[in-house]
């Protein structure tokens, strides 16, 4: 019974970073922009969170800094995608490469250790508070996208930008800010990893979660509420892998494969039902 309760708590905690990144990406993609750089954004968020939290002596400031850096990098991706009409997939891959390089470099340059830094106790934040925040963000995002005028403008930009533009929606601005806010949530998920969930920053702390979040977006059919369900499914296998390890059921390496195998099976099962925004990944230009 107690073990089951631990598994449940672990599932919810493991779901948080995936949920944050997925909800952010849903916002970005609903506006018509693809950002596959979530993994890099998460890594950078985890690193910046510990760095600033350590120096400022406050985890909350660390979280805020990680979020802000994600927002800035999102503005960069948004500018490339929206105004320069660069390739969004290439820019996303670049973000992943840059994040992996910067964090591995930064950990060494700042703390002079190779690829591993324990988060100091004064930089930790309350895991339950961040968990509640993540679920609240998902709920709020659903409300904004489906129940407000702003949500209509965002969805119109992703479905039919020409029509949206013709009725006075500034497609460029909507896409830019949706991309920035979406990216900031991925970085927030990274800060959660290093400041609350794992209490450490490593050069591969995100461990594929940015890509699992991409899978969750498809699983959720671009609906933030369904993304909660998806994140819990992935979180369950993540938690299960540690749980099985504690009880010595299977080798460590085998249990670590579980979340990835589960992700593959889930995406293979749901595709076909999923329907992406129609103008997804297509740059918009004024006639």
């Amino acid at each position: 019974m107690e073990a089951a309760l631990v598994l449940l708590t672990q599932t919810i905690h493991a779901a948080v970073p995936i949920l944050l990144a997925a909800v952010g990406e849903i916002l970005t993609e609903r506006s018509g922009v693809v950002n596959i750089g979530l993994e890099g954004l998460m890594l950078i968020g985890a690193f910046v969170g510990v760095l600033v939290g350590d120096v400022a002596g406050s985890g909350l400031i660390g979280v805020a800094a990680a979020w802000a850096v994600g927002l800035l990098l999102g503005l960069l991706h948004g500018a490339i995608a929206v105004y320069i009409r660069g390739d969004q997939l290439v820019a996303g891959v670049a973000m992943n490469l840059f994040g992996a390089g910067l964090v591995a470099y930064g950990i060494q340059a700042v703390w002079h250790v190779a690829g591993y830094r324990q988060t100091p106790s004064w930089a930790l934040v309350d895991i339950n508070a961040m968990t509640v925040l993540a679920f609240a963000v998902a709920g709020a995002m659903w409300y904004i996208l489906s129940r407000t005028r702003l949500g209509v403008a965002i969805r119109a930009s992703g479905e039919d930008p020409e029509a949206a533009y013709s009725v006075g929606i500034d497609v460029f601005k909507i896409r830019l800010f949706s991309t920035a806010v979406g990216a900031s949530l991925a970085s927030l998920g990274g800060a959660y990893l290093s400041l609350a969930y794992l209490s450490v920053v490593t050069k591969d702390i995100s461990a594929g979660r940015g890509f699992i979040a991409l899978a969750d977006v498809v699983f959720a059919n671009w609906n933030p509420l369904l993304a909660i369900a998806g994140a819990l499914v992935f979180g369950f296998f993540d938690a299960l892998s540690y749980w099985l390890q504690i009880f010595g059921v299977a080798r460590y390496e085998v249990t670590r494969m579980l979340p990835y195998i589960a992700t593959l099976l889930v995406v293979a099962g749901v595709i076909g039902r999923a329907k992406p925004p129609r103008a997804l990944g297509k740059p918009f230009r004024k006639e």
């Binding site: 596959i36 890099g40 490339i80 320069i84 009409r85 660069g86 390739d87 969004q88 997939l89 290439v90 820019a91 891959v93 670049a94 973000m95 490469l97 840059f98 994040g99 992996a100 390089g101 910067l102 591995a104 470099y105 930064g106 060494q108 340059a109 700042v110 050069k203 461990a207 594929g208 890509f211 699992i212 991409l214 899978a215 498809v218 080798r251 390496e253 085998v254 670590r256 494969m257 990835y260 195998i261 992700t263 593959l264 995406v267 293979a268 595709i271 076909g272 740059p283």
Partner: protein, 334 residues
């Protein structure tokens, strides 16, 4: 030519931004770049070491280039390289003679291709996005190969690595005292072969047609499923060879590190090479040689400028970001 200029421009931007990053973190940018770009040319051992470093990057770069040609984002070279290396280790376990070398290629390439076929089939028949599926396969390979390397195939004398290639099956340095083996020429030949395949063969024509315009290709009788499978199959072969060479042509250890140190990150380097090379196999070859030079230089930078090796990865990330901006001409045609 235009693409080449774009790549040079992206290098210039990366060097400028990198200088700021290095300066902020307390390193001397001049010494960083001197040790990275000048020192490697000062000794023939360094030059050959750069070529050896470039070898697997050429091959994993071809994997990504083959995908790009067909309009696919195949990020799976990383895991396929692990599987290729595992194949070489299995061959060393099975055969104690020179036979282990051909056997390495057979088993290594088979495992890598099998690994590539999962995302290919999921894409062809279930429409699963290849970015997600290849990354998942990479992580599954990561844990699988770590497990096998540290259990069944571990070296009882040296717990940090697997059993070694039998001495008679090794590809040893062509010039004693350097690390340049025949593996380098295998990689160059692979690049030429892929170039020929894409430019002159029917398969290459179909891949390119589907990459430029999938709808038109389908109407012309080229099914998307065939394109995906061929592209991933060929990509699996080159990455598999990369993995085999990282064991069979890797002096002095001729084994796989249990933490995968001699294969880790090669797939990502390949993506960088293919993007810098604009998805062209010969461009990828050139770019991989350049990346090999940068990484050899980064080792000297570590020693001379006390800068972490990963600085080179920061530079590469910035380069690709600039490429994304400049690649619009090439990609708007999709």
């Amino acid at each position: 030519m235009r693409g080449f200029l774009d790549s040079l421009l992206s290098l210039a931007v990366a060097i400028a931004v990198g200088a700021v990053v290095a300066y902020i973190s307390g390193y001397n940018p001049l010494l960083v770049y001197y040790s990275m770009f000048v020192v490697p040319f000062t000794d023939v051992v360094y030059v050959t070491s750069a070529l050896a470093t470039a070898t697997p990057i050429i091959l994993t770069g071809l994997t990504f280039a083959l995908g790009l040609k067909a309009g696919l984002f195949n990020i799976g070279a990383e895991g396929q390289t692990y599987m290729g290396a595992l194949g070489a280790v299995i061959a060393s376990y099975l055969a104690a003679s020179a036979l282990a070398l051909p056997l390495s290629f057979v088993i290594g390439i088979s495992l890598a291709v099998a690994w590539a076929m999962v995302p290919a089939l999921l894409k062809a028949y279930r429409g699963v996005n290849e970015v997600v599926s290849t990354i998942m396969m990479n992580w599954i390979a990561y844990w699988l190969v770590i497990m096998e390397a540290s259990t069944t195939f571990s070296n009882p004398m040296q717990p940090s690595e697997t059993i070694k290639m039998p001495p008679s099956a090794r590809l040893t340095p062509l010039v004693p005292g350097t690390s340049l083996t025949a593996g380098f020429f295998v990689a160059v030949a692979a690049a030429l072969l892929v170039y020929w395949l894409l430019e002159r063969s029917v398969i290459g024509y179909e891949l390119t047609a589907a990459g430029l315009n999938p709808v038109a290709a389908r109407i012309a009788g080229i099914p998307q499923s065939r394109v995906v499978i061929y592209s991933f199959l060929l990509g699996g072969v080159t990455s598999g060879v990369a993995g085999v060479l990282q064991v069979a042509a890797m002096p002095p250890s001729y084994s796989l590190a249990t933490n995968l140190a001699n294969v880790y990150g090669l797939g990502l380097d390949g993506i960088t090479a293919a993007m810098l090379g604009r998805g062209n196999p010969l461009g990828t070859l050139l770019a991989a040689l350049f990346l090999g030079l940068m990484e050899e230089g980064a080792r000297h930078m570590q020693a001379l400028a006390m800068t972490p090796f990963e600085f080179v990865k920061v530079l590469q990330g910035i380069m690709i970001l600039v490429i994304a901006v400049r690649m619009l001409e090439l990609w708007r045609r999709r």
